[in-house]
């Protein structure tokens, strides 16, 4: 069977239905008249010859129907008829139609919504550099019955120096703090991070900058505001850059405003071997650091591989 000829005959059938019908009429009439002519030549009377030609041909309408079928036209015609019938039936019972349409709309809508969520959280890669290789490291100490707690700042520094399994490490802690100035005191959610955080989540600040690596060792505290917070508190005023803010009783300098991650402030944290790390260590060891690890990554659509690093006593 050749596709080309089929398509041509379907096209002819659909485009020139009227023409095809009249062609078919002409062809069948020619047949009967030619036969009648032959009969007349054999001496049959004109009227009688036509009558016999018609009888011997058999049912003309049936033959036509079979011709249409042979061309594959009737499939399309039946389809169109069914469609028209369906529309009429639906129009006749508007209540049923409305419920059916509503059901379909809700079903499709729900599916689309769920797909969007699944697509955004599970299927799409992280919007960061090599997101599929990003993992969260926890510490467990089975002797003390601790599982999945955040590492201490000292551990972090050791890992960063000595680990060969990871390209780079950063540390973060999720929690809330109280801003007492400027303006009314307010409790806000935020992340305390090491200064190389920006290397992982490559998105650029809307205004200002993120942390510089060398700022990790300094005495100053720096803050990057979340976009929403910046809009709400400072009405999106870019001149807040360089101004100070007081968080948990400590002075911070605002250096930038970011769109991501969601609505959190980024706060500088400086784990180092001289003093500064002490605070981070004690804080990071708290539960907040642990659950926040998972939460922060879910928030940024991570494929979370859970590494549990067993910490030996004295290590």
């Amino acid at each position: 069977m050749r596709l080309g000829s089929q398509i041509r005959s379907w096209m002819r059938a659909v485009m020139g239905r009227a023409r095809m019908e009249s062609d078919m009429d002409t062809e069948l009439r020619f047949h009967m008249e030619a036969y009648a002519d032959d009969l007349q030549r054999q001496g049959v009377a004109h009227e009688e010859a036509l009558r016999r030609a018609r009888i011997e041909f058999g049912g003309v309408e049936r033959a036509k129907e079979k011709c249409r079928e042979a061309r594959g036209v009737s499939f399309l015609e039946t389809l169109l008829q069914d469609l028209r019938y369906g529309m009429r039936a639906l129009a006749k019972s508007p209540c049923f139609t409305a419920i059916a349409v509503l059901t379909l709309a809700l079903g499709i809508g729900a599916n689309t919504a769920i797909f969007n969520v699944v697509n955004a959280t599970l299927l799409q890669p992280l919007p960061i550099r090599e997101g599929s290789r990003l993992v969260v490291i926890w510490i467990s100490n089975l002797e003390h019955g601790w599982s999945r707690i955040g590492p201490a700042g000292q551990d972090y520094l050791d890992w960063k120096e000595q680990s060969k399994s990871f390209d780079d490490l950063f540390m973060f802690e999720h929690g809330t703090g109280t801003v007492t100035a400027p303006g009314e005191p307010e409790q806000v959610a935020g992340l305390r991070v090491t200064t190389n955080f920006g290397d992982f989540f490559g998105s650029k600040p809307v205004v200002g900058r993120t942390f510089r690596l060398e700022e990790g060792a300094g005495r100053h505290n720096y803050a990057v505001l979340g976009y929403g917070y910046w809009q709400r508190k400072f009405a999106g005023d870019p001149s807040v850059l360089g101004r100070g803010m007081t968080l948990n009783g400590e002075e911070y300098t605002i250096i930038g405003e970011r769109k991501r991650p969601v609505d959190v402030r980024w706060l500088r944290a400086a784990p180092d071997r001289r003093g500064g790390g002490g605070e981070l260590r004690s804080r990071a060891a708290r539960d907040a650091g642990v659950s926040a690890g998972g939460a922060a990554l879910r928030m940024t659509r991570a494929k979370v591989f859970e590494f549990t690093v067993c910490k030996r006593e004295g290590a």
């Binding site: 069977m1 062809e27 020619f30 047949h31 030619a34 033959a63 079979k66 011709c67 079928e69 061309r71």
Partner: protein
């Protein structure tokens, strides 16, 4: 005239292809040619000819063209395509093999089994 044989199912297509292979013919001409070659021993329902022609054209074995008949009437002429010629060869071969096998079976005598 002997009693006419009824056409075996599925054989009309083959006969049409054969008739059209001998030169372009209109539907009525194809009918006449088959009857002439078969010496009127086959009974062909005239109305069944056209669905078969349309089917063969749809499948691309034959093509049609409007022309003028011997008595100056508008008539549709059919002729074989290249694919139709190949088809006729295969069908003929299959038919001959089938006929041979059937004849062999029907001609079997008890001592040959």
């Amino acid at each position: 005239m002997d009693k006419q044989l009824e056409l075996l199912q599925g054989t009309l297509d083959m006969l049409i292809l054969k008739a059209a292979s001998l030169g372009p013919l209109h539907g009525y001409g194809i009918l006449l040619r088959i009857q002439q070659i078969s010496k009127d021993r086959l009974e062909i329902q005239q109305g069944s000819l056209y669905p078969a022609l349309y089917r063969l054209e749809h499948q691309g074995w034959i093509t049609s063209e409007w022309g003028e008949s011997e008595n100056k009437r508008k008539a549709k002429y059919y002729q074989l395509t290249m694919a139709g010629k190949r088809r006729l060869l295969t069908e003929t071969e299959n038919w001959n093999r089938m006929a041979e096998v059937i004849a062999g079976i029907l001609g079997t005598k008890p001592e040959e089994v």
